[in-house]
């Protein structure tokens, strides 16, 4: 079962409330996503830690239900 874009956004925002999530449906199939996540919680974390925070928000679905998520993390300026 793929994970719909709205679910991805909801999951990320519930873990990182102030996050700005920009999703792009890469293949037009509601299954291959690019996400750009901008969140103040990323401050002071390295890239691996930032990505892990997003993966954690997705609750273990990354690599499973969510096969392909191209992720970029940013700290708001």
């Amino acid at each position: 079962m793929p994970m719909a874009g709205s679910e991805i956004e909801t999951a990320i925002k519930s873990a990182l409330p102030e996050a700005i999530v920009v999703l792009t449906d890469l293949a037009g199939d509601d299954d291959h996503w690019a996400a750009e996540v901008t969140a103040p919680q990323f401050a002071g974390k390295n890239r691996v830690q930032q990505h892990k925070m997003v993966y954690e928000a997705l609750g273990g679905r990354m690599g499973g239900a969510l096969h392909a998520l191209q992720l970029t993390t940013k700290i708001p300026t």
Partner: protein
Amino acid sequence: MSDTNTRISSIVTGSDVVLFMKGTPLFPQCGFSSKAVAILEHCGVSYESVDVLQDMEVRQAIKTYSDWPTIPQLYVKGEFLGGSDIMMEMFEAGELQQLMDEENVAKADS
């Protein structure tokens, strides 16, 4: 399980640069792995690749080893660096090349 972890440890410390991927550098089986290979080729460094599709134990254990849910995974001098998105970000910022230089990673034979 712990045997597999020991095996992973010896793989990631056995070479300066190790890429866990799906498929091989010549025949990557996934777009993200293919991207990771292309980045390493651009950096011109010598690297070891491990095809997790040929090793189910490593395929599962590597995710716990690094606490990272996806493949590919890049290790430099035994340290987990990230997946293909982080590799691309670092490469575009010139940080990956810089890190390879700083770590004195062996260049690829050309």
